[in-house]
């Protein structure tokens, strides 16, 4: 484990000894908040979902055609968005980490934009672009291309919202690893593809996977942007989160909770994967900056048999001292007592 972690925990321990009461209050408060806001609601979802027993749970999930379809939609939309963002994220992170070009900072900021824009606004942007009143709407209609209220719209909205995850995760990893190994690969005769698959990808794989996991969790859970572009067509364009809401509005509470529990389960799995990957990513980053800890061994033949080192230190005289010699030269050469006869 990295050094700082130990230092921090040590600091906690010492401050805890100083104020045992404060420590208990703080820990208690944290547990209370986590419990009330997170643990109880999450557990409650599973309790509610399992209210009708295991059989009831599965029938709630799979008996309704629209619910089944929403699961299918999510299983199609999320992987496509994740795949698009993986390709984009790797390319963007590589470009930003490896090249210095005008607009580089702007590009980095733009990648973050989807984080700060409300998903509803993101959805609305697509409607304004592809809707009938939008710029491309009439043209799309003429050519019989359906984007809004259909699969392409859902994928576009989800991709937009989840765009930063992979790039953001990869950028620090790529910067820490540096370009040297890639340059070495090219100097050894590898093509760009060979370099990417054999050198770049293995070095970033845990960071990449971490970004993909986060991206996937968000893609499956996205509601706002998808809601705007889905139209109100349950059973056709609804993904799992939309269907959860619809079931709830229709007062089909147990079905709603069953589907919600499925989404939550996904979140729990993501969390576990995240913790595991985070550790590996940190190791990846650490390995990129750590010097060798292996002691040098004398495995060279005739090692150390050479002549002794004759390192000479640079001992230039200070110029201001030197300059003073210029003046007394004449007086010195004029004075015979100095014993400085000409050569």
């Amino acid at each position: 484990m990295p050094e700082p972690a130990r230092v921090i925990s040590g600091a906690h321990a010492s401050s805890g000894r100083d104020h045992p009461l404060l420590r208990r209050i703080l820990i208690g408060l944290t547990l209370l908040i986590v419990g009330v806001l997170i643990v109880i609601p999450v557990v409650n979802i599973f309790v509610q979902a399992m209210g009708g027993g295991l059989w009831g749970y599965f029938s709630n999930l799979f008996s309704d055609r629209d619910t089944r379809h929403s699961i299918l939609m999510t299983l199609i939309v999320a992987p496509i968005s994740v795949a698009v963002n993986t390709v984009f994220g790797v390319a963007a992170a590589w470009t930003i980490a490896r090249f210095r070009f005008p607009g580089r900072t702007l590009l980095t900021t733009l990648i973050d934009l989807p984080f700060s824009i409300s998903p509803v606004v993101a959805g609305l942007m697509l409607v304004l672009l592809f809707g009938l009143q939008g710029h491309m709407g009439p043209w799309l209609r003429e050519h019989n291309i359906q984007i809004l209220f259909a699969m392409p719209g859902l994928i576009l909205a989800t991709t937009f919202v989840t765009l930063p995850f992979v790039a953001r995760e990869l950028l620090p990893v790529m910067e820490a690893i540096g370009a040297e190994e890639e340059i070495a690969a090219i100097s050894l005769g590898a093509s760009a593809w060979q370099t990417f698959w054999n050198v770049t990808l293995p070095n970033i794989k845990w960071g990449l996977l971490y970004g993909v996991v986060l991206c996937n969790a968000r893609a499956m859970g996205e509601y706002g942007a998808v809601y705007v572009v889905a139209g109100h067509q349950g059973g056709r364009t609804y993904t799992m989160p939309l269907q959860v809401n619809k079931l709830f509005e229709d007062s089909r509470t147990s079905e709603s909770f069953a589907l919600a529990s499925l989404l939550t389960l996904l979140a729990v799995v993501t969390l576990a994967a995240k913790v595991a990957l985070e550790r590996r990513t940190r190791r990846e980053l650490l390995a990129a900056t750590r010097p060798s800890e292996v002691p040098e061994t004398n495995d060279l033949p005739h090692a150390g048999a050479g002549p002794p080192s004759v390192r000479v230190n640079q001992t230039r005289l200070r110029p201001e001292l030197i300059m003073t010699t210029a003046k007394p030269v004449d007086s010195a050469s004029a004075a015979p007592s100095q014993g400085m006869a000409g050569a």
Partner: protein, 354 residues
């Protein structure tokens, strides 16, 4: 294979990394590019490797103009200062990489890798990862990896810069022996004059994007072509004196300097190496400076003495052979007379020996 660099210039923004540089390395030679940081030596190496494109000028391998070829096409072996080993690959796979991308048959790769690991004395460590190796071992893996592809040229960028002094010493002697065995044309970059002198056949001294001098280590050390080279190659006492009427005047001493026969006095800088200064108990006929001994360090192969001249307010570093030191037996506080055996000035003629 010989390498020729012809009038190469390279700018990074407003910074002139290389200014019209021309240099040649004969087939099978071992050339050192020596200079302080920012002198352009690494840029020159990268231009030769094809990792950097020159703004103007050309690079020849033998008679072939390779200026427009990429590093990939040039078939070079490049060794990086920080090794740049593939961290997720074993030692074996690192060395095999260049052969794999060339689609060598598996059995042939195995033989070649084993042969190279034996050459760099790492045959027992082929299953290790780079993180399980010491710095010196990593550098040897990097060397084996570069040599595996049977490069036409071996280029090394500060190959021992990241290693501690003792390992550096061992590795460079080993590199010299290795080069004598395999005779591939090699160029390495270093800022350490000792390293350049010990390893290279020929040294190229660089300063602010230009070549100051090219020559064998002995030529460069004995006959520095410029004040920069004189100053850069180790310890030197610098005096400010003047030239007039065919004489050089330094702090009360005078020497013949026939190359400057003008009437007007020309202020100049004169250089004397510590081992070229002589100490006497009494004044010398040829002219000497009276000084007193401040520090004596007799440890090592030469005795290092620091003397101070009150009269002229200058200090001088003197190196005496052990024999001479035993004769003189100077101690701090002693009064001595200092005279140079050799003085160099670089204006207007490059060198003058008395």
């Amino acid at each position: 294979m010989s390498i020729k660099v012809n009038n190469v210039s390279k700018k990074f923004g407003a910074f002139n990394a290389l200014k019209e540089v021309s240099v040649e390395a004969g087939a099978g030679s071992l050339l050192a590019l020596l200079g302080p940081s920012g002198s352009g030596k690494t840029t020159l190496l990268r231009v030769i490797a094809g990792l950097e494109t020159p703004d103007s000028g050309s690079v020849y391998y033998e008679d072939e103009d390779v200026t427009s070829q990429s590093a990939r096409e040039r078939n070079i072996g490049f060794v990086f200062q920080h090794y740049a080993l593939f961290r997720h690959m074993t030692v074996f796979d690192n060395v095999a990489f260049g052969l794999k991308v060339r689609r060598w048959p598996r059995a042939k790769i195995r033989d070649r890798v084993r042969q190279l690991l034996a050459l760099v004395r790492l045959d027992t460590l082929e299953r290790r990862l780079p993180s399980q190796l010491s710095g010196g071992q990593r550098q040897r893996v990097a060397l084996a990896r570069a040599l595996a592809i049977e490069p036409k040229v071996l280029l090394l960028d500060e190959p021992f810069g990241a290693l501690d002094a003792k390992v550096r010493q061992e590795l460079r002697q080993w590199l010299r022996r290795l080069h004598d065995e395999i005779h591939v044309t090699s160029i390495f970059v270093t800022h350490d004059q000792e390293e350049a002198f010990e390893v290279a056949d020929k040294v190229v001294v660089m300063n602010s994007g230009r070549i100051e001098q090219v020559g064998t280590p002995q030529e460069v050390f004995e006959h520095p072509a410029s004040a920069f080279v004189m100053d850069f190659l180790g310890n030197v006492n610098v005096f400010h004196g003047r030239l007039q009427d065919g004489r050089a005047h330094v702090g009360g001493m005078q020497f013949d300097y026939p190359d400057y026969a003008h009437q007007e006095s020309l202020p100049t800088t004169l250089y004397v190496r510590p081992h070229e200064l002589e100490l006497h108990h009494g004044p010398s006929e040829a002219g000497s400076l009276k000084a007193h001994v401040e520090r004596v360090n007799p440890a090592g192969s030469v005795a290092k003495v620091f003397v101070w001249s009150d009269e002229f307010g200058i200090g001088m570093h003197v190196e005496l052979s052990s024999e001479r030191y035993n004769e003189l037996r100077v101690r701090p506080g002693d009064t001595v007379y200092v005279s140079p055996r050799r003085v160099r000035a670089f204006v207007p003629e490059p060198e003058y020996v008395i």
